[in-house]
């Protein structure tokens, strides 16, 4: 129960940023250490920032977001093939140029942006869909539960990579991008609707199945609360920790899945050049122009690693049984 003690107790890293939560209870008389009336979220935040890997992960992820979305302002090289080709990293092109003269740094900034956009859209859509369907299945049971569960069983029968590839095959022939800014949104929606929401829906369904039998739900029902109100105001707030952790895992998986899909040539198309597509375009040059592989690879790993660290930290921080924080 060390986490219930106010700042100043031994054990935490001295001077750590989490030690004095903003707006936390002021230290009273010298030596007084009592049970703080800190909110649940303040406890979570404190545990999170004490988790060094999680903190590093979130700083890294923020840096990647900044790099992807503010990068073009600082590095305004053209994305097109207007530079000398096959320049090794350094000098005027810090990360070199590719075989037809595209600046790699500019390409990676835009690739990171597309990869992140796809991952965030997938996480958002899949989380909303998974939570709503999972909660309804768990709360209403009966035919709604059967329908959702069988749908998940069915969609699990076909590998997600293949479902996505089949659907993406048509979407880019139908709409060869250009005007719409590429097909990244299509790919993101396909990933979200056909793969990413099942694990979330299954987990939430299981939790809701047990939560719906609890006394507070019975009380809400006795007070005449409507079904949506019970589900969304009373039951789902109890699953918020699981939802958040699952959403971060989804972000990491979406980055990997999308890059794999683009790598086999059935994912995004230019101008939606994601990191996976950058690797795919230069896959035959890996031995001769190695930087064309290693830099996009590095950024894919950085994104998924940072998100996984954040997810891991959140999992520990949100777990009320957690007593010690892993170093």
């Amino acid at each position: 129960m060390a986490d219930l003690l106010v700042p100043g107790t031994p054990g935490g890293p001295p001077g750590g940023p989490g030690q004095a939560g903003p707006g936390g209870p002021p230290d009273g008389a010298a030596g007084f250490v009592g049970v703080a009336a800190a909110s649940q979220w303040r406890l979570v935040a404190r545990r999170f920032v004490r988790h060094r890997a999680a903190l590093a992960g979130s700083v890294l992820f923020a840096a990647l977001l900044l790099f992807a979305f503010a990068g073009p302002l600082l590095w305004d090289r053209s994305l097109d093939a207007v530079h000398p080709p096959k320049v090794p990293p350094g000098g005027a092109h810090p990360l070199g140029t590719d075989r037809i003269g595209r600046d790699v740094l500019a390409g990676i900034i835009s690739g990171t942006r597309f990869s992140l956009q796809i991952a965030l859209v997938v996480a958002l859509v899949a989380t909303v869909l998974g939570v709503v369907l999972g909660a309804l299945a768990g709360y209403l049971r009966g035919w709604v539960d059967s329908a959702v569960s069988r749908l998940v069983d069915l969609l699990l029968c076909i590998p997600p990579l293949v479902v996505t590839a089949v659907l993406a095959r048509n979407s880019f022939t139908l709409a060869p991008s250009a005007a719409s800014g590429g097909n990244w949104l299509t790919v993101a929606l396909i990933l979200a609707l056909f793969t990413a929401w099942f694990p979330i829906a299954r987990t939430i369904r299981g939790m809701v199945l047990s939560l719906r039998e609890k006394e507070f739900v019975e009380a809400a029902r006795a007070l005449g609360a409507s079904t949506p109100r019970i589900v969304f105001r009373h039951i789902l707030p109890n699953t918020v920790d699981v939802i958040i952790v699952n959403a971060t895992v989804t972000v990491a998986q979406a980055v990997l899945l999308e890059s794999a899909l683009s790598f086999i040539g059935l994912g995004v198309r230019r101008p939606s050049a994601s990191l996976g597509l950058l690797i795919n375009e230069n896959r035959n040059e890996i031995a001769t122009l190695p930087w064309l592989f290693w830099f996009p690879f590095l950024f894919i790993v950085l994104i998924s690693l940072s998100v996984n660290f954040v997810g891991d930290g959140l999992r520990d921080a949100l777990d009320p049984r957690q007593k010690r924080v892993r170093a």
């Binding site: 089949v166 139908l174 794999a260 086999i264 059935l266 894919i300 998924s304 690693l305």
Partner: protein, 332 residues
């Protein structure tokens, strides 16, 4: 147990029928298989109409589905349809590809399971030791690795190794372009050399990703088991620590891992897409990428059905294994 198995089998039938609808819908959503052929050069309307009639695309969707489904259950899975790619029978092609992929996947999964189990058990027995932190860190990094990058890195590592082997006078051991078309031949030593060189890299790339998953599951379930009352009892009555770990904790700690293994075997067929693409194995993964790129409806359809059967089969096996290993699980 028998009744339970029979019931699960019966549930699998409507699931398979639904899967055939879904895969047909997906195949249809892929679009007109002749779209690109028509764009190659201007063609006479009669020629186009004749081609559509040949592949049956002049008929309504429902009729096409029934036609395919009738053929599927009687063993006629149709052929490839796009003119210019040659006509390939779907069923023998998928059978051949499935054989290639299963060899690769089974070897890789079993290796990954064994390594993952060993790492997970050691990590749990020595919780918070240097080994545990190292294994946790390694698993974490492997989780964040794109499989195709691991495969590509291994491939170029293999080529470098070959160059080095050649420079010291040995042969090019590592094969990065799939199993030899003529099969393996020669004496035992020769065979071992060929097999190891061919399987090493694709198997390694699958193992690298999968072992992380198994080691995490094994560590978690082992920690649960080690904290259980019966383990404390076993220790209290003075059993040797190794006996407690192996006979008491491990036996129960295996249950979730074996279940995950069976579930995973089904899905890994889709996961082999990347490995096969990189290493040029002409298995299921290679086949589906090829079929989707060429918009071959019956090939894609047959592939999805076979995969669905494999996945449903392994899920069924996971259920049965779980029910067998854990006698507390009783299904009505």
């Amino acid at each position: 147990m028998l009744r339970f198995a029979a019931r699960r089998l019966l549930i699998a039938v409507p699931l398979l029928i639904a899967a055939s609808f879904l895969s047909f819908a997906l195949t249809t959503a892929m679009g007109d298989p002749l779209a690109e052929w028509k764009l190659q050069r201007p063609r006479a309307d009669t020629e186009i109409a004749a081609q559509y009639q040949r592949i049956g695309y002049d008929r309504p969707i429902m009729e096409r589905y029934l036609d395919w489904a009738g053929g599927f259950v009687t063993g006629d899975w149709k052929t490839t349809v796009v003119p210019g790619n040659g006509t390939v029978e779907v069923r023998p092609e998928i059978g051949r590809a499935l054989g290639v992929t299963l060899r690769l996947v089974l070897v890789a999964e079993i290796l990954a399971l064994l390594i993952g189990m060993a790492v997970g058990v050691l990590g749990a027995v020595r919780q918070y030791s240097v080994f545990d932190y190292g294994a946790t860190g390694a698993a974490f990094v492997m989780f964040s690795m794109p499989l195709f990058c691991v495969a590509v890195i291994l491939k170029y590592g293999g080529i470098e190794l070959n160059n080095w082997l050649e420079s010291i006078g040995a042969g090019r051991w590592i094969v990065t372009a799939g199993p030899p078309p003529g099969g393996f031949s020669g004496g035992v030593g020769e065979l071992a050399y060929q097999y190891s060189g061919t399987f090493l890299l694709p198997v390694l790339s699958l193992v690298a990703i999968q072992f992380a998953l198994y080691s995490r599951f094994q560590r978690a379930s082992m920690l649960d088991a080690l904290g259980a009352d019966y383990v404390r009892t076993a220790r209290a009555k003075g059993l040797a620590p190794s006996r407690v770990v192996v006979r008491h904790a491990l036996r129960n700690g295996l249950i979730p891992v074996v279940t995950v293994f069976a579930l995973n075997l089904g899905t890994i067929i889709g996961g082999a897409v990347i490995t096969e693409t990189v290493f040029g194995w002409r298995g299921m993964g290679f086949l589906i990428v090829d079929a989707i790129t060429n918009k071959e409806p019956w090939m894609v359809q047959g592939w999805m059905m076979v995969t669905a059967v494999v996945i449903i089969g392994f899920n069924l096996m996971a259920d049965l294994v779980y029910a067998y290993l854990d006698p507390r699980i009783r299904y009505g």
